[in-house]
């Protein structure tokens, strides 16, 4: 069979692996999602949203859809932790929650952390109000796939007027040493009025067998609440991951996000923020520094539905070797959302001739009294700047590393957690061979 086209019925093969008996909760949603996936099919290059992203081809080539859970023999997760970060740690191995590797240090009065499976029993009301409300399985085949197949997930609930002092680290580790891993996990976060939380999500795998992982993540950020959310996609294995991450903001809420992509075979992030309140602020930051054959695709949406809010999106990329990146940034400013300030910028530096950048801003503005701007640049390192540094006695190699580091480090400025900033700084320094 030709490997350049995806067979028509890949989604059927995937759906047929669904065995209802294995999934105790959210049955109706699963049935609905099956219909959606059947209708949507797997995305081909002809579909605008996945035009540059060869995910279906890779799924067909590297995975079989037997319905079994890959075995894991991971005994220690230490190597995947963030050094010195004093945090609640929640660990998923091959898509299953691992209680033994997890530890919750924040008191329950500050934050309730449960598996979704438990929350479906104990927190029915809040689950029915928020679960699967932001993720749209009718629009995205991977959201549909996740809604069909998710086995486990987390529910995080912060009550009103509460600052969760310690961050929450969600660690996804896939053990692909003996066989392929296919995993689908979910996250639901509800931060009530006047509360604040930081969440770090980190994705790793070990071994060289292929990993396919989908994530559907929903965040409801209520009035005057704050969310800091970090996504670290630095997976050293042969992983293919698709995340649907959706944040909903109410009045006066503040959201800061930072996505870091360094490694993995293919990363696709569908990341959307709906600003459904007034006087909100959102900082939407990202950095990808790619090498080898890594493919990173950030599809972002900022949807301003109400007036008087501010959003600032900055994604930066350094693209080396044969790596490829896609950035698609949509900003919507709805007719009612007057006095919106919305900014977007995507800046890329190409290091090698074989690297590829596809960047596309899409602004749709219906309101007439707004301030919006966007800009994308893709280029090489500024040779004038390299020469300036060289002319002071700095080697060409160091000069380039200095400039790349300076370019990348800008995205770290808003990060308030010192330990996290140091960690990111170290990752960036290592990747860019900073030796000064």
């Amino acid at each position: 069979m030709s490997s350049t086209t995806v067979k028509k019925d890949l989604q059927i093969e995937i759906i047929e692996s669904f065995q209802e008996a294995n999934f105790g909760v959210a049955k109706e949603l699963r049935v609905k999602a099956i219909a959606n996936l059947e209708r949507l099919g797997m995305p081909t290059g002809k579909q605008e949203e996945y035009r540059f992203t060869p995910i279906a081809k890779n799924l067909e080539k590297h995975f079989n859809w037997e319905n079994s859970i890959a075995p894991s023999s991971i005994t220690s997760i230490d190597e995947f932790l963030i050094p010195d970060l004093d945090a609640n740690v929640l660990v998923f191995i091959n898509g299953s929650f691992s209680k033994s590797h997890s530890k919750i240090v924040s008191p329950e009065s500050q934050v309730k952390i449960k598996t979704l499976w438990d929350a479906f029993q104990s927190d029915k009301e809040i689950i029915s109000a928020y679960f699967d409300k932001l993720v749209n399985s009718a629009r995205d085949p991977f959201a549909a796939m996740n809604s069909i197949f998710w086995r486990e997930g987390l529910f995080i609930h912060v009550p009103e007027n509460t600052n969760v002092e310690k961050p929450i680290l969600i660690l996804h580790v896939n053990d692909a040493r003996t066989s392929q891993v296919i995993a689908h996990t979910r996250l639901l976060v509800v931060v009530e009025n006047n509360s604040a939380i930081s969440i770090v999500e980190k994705f790793d795998s070990t071994g060289s067998q292929p990993v396919f992982h989908t994530y559907s993540e929903e965040f409801a950020i209520k009035e005057n609440a704050q969310l800091a959310y970090y996504k670290i996609q630095n997976d050293q294995g042969s992983s293919y991951q698709v995340a649907n991450t959706l944040i909903h903001q109410a009045n006066r809420s503040v959201v800061n996000t930072f996505t870091l992509i360094f490694s993995g075979q293919l990363v696709r992030n569908n990341f959307g923020i709906t600003i459904d309140g007034e006087n909100c602020a959102s900082h939407f930051y990202g950095l990808y520094a790619l090498k080898g054959n890594t493919f990173a695709d950030n599809h972002t949406v900022v949807d301003h539905k109400k007036p008087n809010s501010f959003s600032n999106e900055l994604y930066k990329g350094i693209v080396d070797d044969n790596s490829k990146c896609v950035f698609n940034g949509k900003i919507f400013v709805r007719p009612y959302a007057q006095k919106t300030n919305a900014f977007q910028s995507n800046r890329n530096i190409l290091i090698s001739d074989a690297a590829t950048v596809n960047t596309k801003p899409q602004l749709e503005i219906w309101a007439d009294d707004v301030k919006c701007s966007h800009g994308c640049t893709t280029g090489q390192l500024d040779e004038e700047a390299v020469f300036y540094l060289q002319s002071r006695g700095i080697s060409r190699t160091t000069a380039k590393a200095m400039l790349l580091y300076a370019f990348a480090a800008e995205v770290l400025e808003p990060i308030q957690n010192e330990k996290l900033r140091v960690y990111f700084d170290q990752l960036i320094s290592e990747r860019l061979h900073k030796d000064f």
């Binding site: 006695g393 080697s395 400039l403």
Partner: protein, 251 residues
């Protein structure tokens, strides 16, 4: 110290330098003057090792070494410094970090150990006074948002830090008001010694009121057409460059 013989160079297929001969000894200040497009900045760039400039003929020797074989960073490490006409703005790199890196790579080249943080700061404070530059400026991203005067002062500060044997000031006076010009010139004068040399590239006499040259050379169409002492600069100021141009046309 510096010997230039029959230097010819082109940029983007355009021949700019057409045979320059120049000798600079330790302790001397040479001014290179000339109208726009005469090749002054090209000469400075060729000395610093800018890549776009292709030397098609001739030789440059600096302290017995063939300069044309050295990379820009090795020229700097051997003691050449060019103050840029248009200093580059580099977001994300502070002047302090930049200077620490530069100084330590130069020291490494010369077989010296790295400066520790305290010695570096002491040295920096001493040199800051020389060019009347504020530490807050040096903590900021290199030249970013600096005024024209601040950028030029930063160039002279860097020169003071790196203590070059040969400094080339490429139109350092352009864009400076009188006060900034005086500060920059004072800084340069304090760095003058019998062990180093300075080449001042400029359009105008006014910088030379402050940095008094031992020799003045007039560059026209990529050649030195006239050399003299500081009086030549005054004559040029009085008569303009047309005088040189017409003399050349006759010759």
């Amino acid at each position: 110290m510096l010997t230039i013989k029959n230097l010819q160079a082109k940029v983007a297929e355009k021949q700019i330098l057409n045979g320059i001969d120049l000798n600079v000894n330790a302790g001397e200040v040479h001014a290179i003057m000339g109208p726009n497009g005469s090749g002054k900045s090209t000469l400075a760039s060729v000395l610093a090792g800018r890549e776009d400039y292709e030397v098609t003929s001739g030789e440059i020797h600096f302290q017995g070494k063939n300069l044309l074989e050295l990379s820009p960073e090795d020229r700097a490490r051997e003691g050449i410094f060019m103050a840029f006409q248009y200093p580059i703005e580099i977001p994300g790199v502070s002047t302090i970090n930049f200077m620490k890196t530069a100084l330590n790579q130069i020291r490494e080249h010369r077989g010296l150990p790295s400066l520790d943080a305290v010695s570096f700061l002491t040295l920096m404070k001493e040199k800051m006074k020389l060019v009347e530059i504020d530490q807050s400026l040096l903590s900021r991203a290199l030249n970013q948002g600096f005024s024209g005067g601040e950028k030029k002062r930063n160039e002279i500060f860097q020169m003071a830090m790196l203590e070059p044997k040969l400094a080339i000031l490429d139109e350092t006076d352009s864009g400076l008001d009188i006060d900034a010009l005086r500060i920059v010139a004072n800084g340069v004068n304090k760095l003058r010694s019998k062990n180093n040399a300075i080449i001042v590239v400029t359009h105008y006499q006014r910088l030379l009121d402050h940095i008094v040259p031992d020799f003045v050379h007039v560059l026209y169409k990529g050649k030195i057409v006239k050399s003299g002492t500081k009086e030549l600069a005054l004559e040029l100021e009085a008569k303009g460059y047309d005088w040189i141009k017409s003399e050349e046309a006759i010759a």
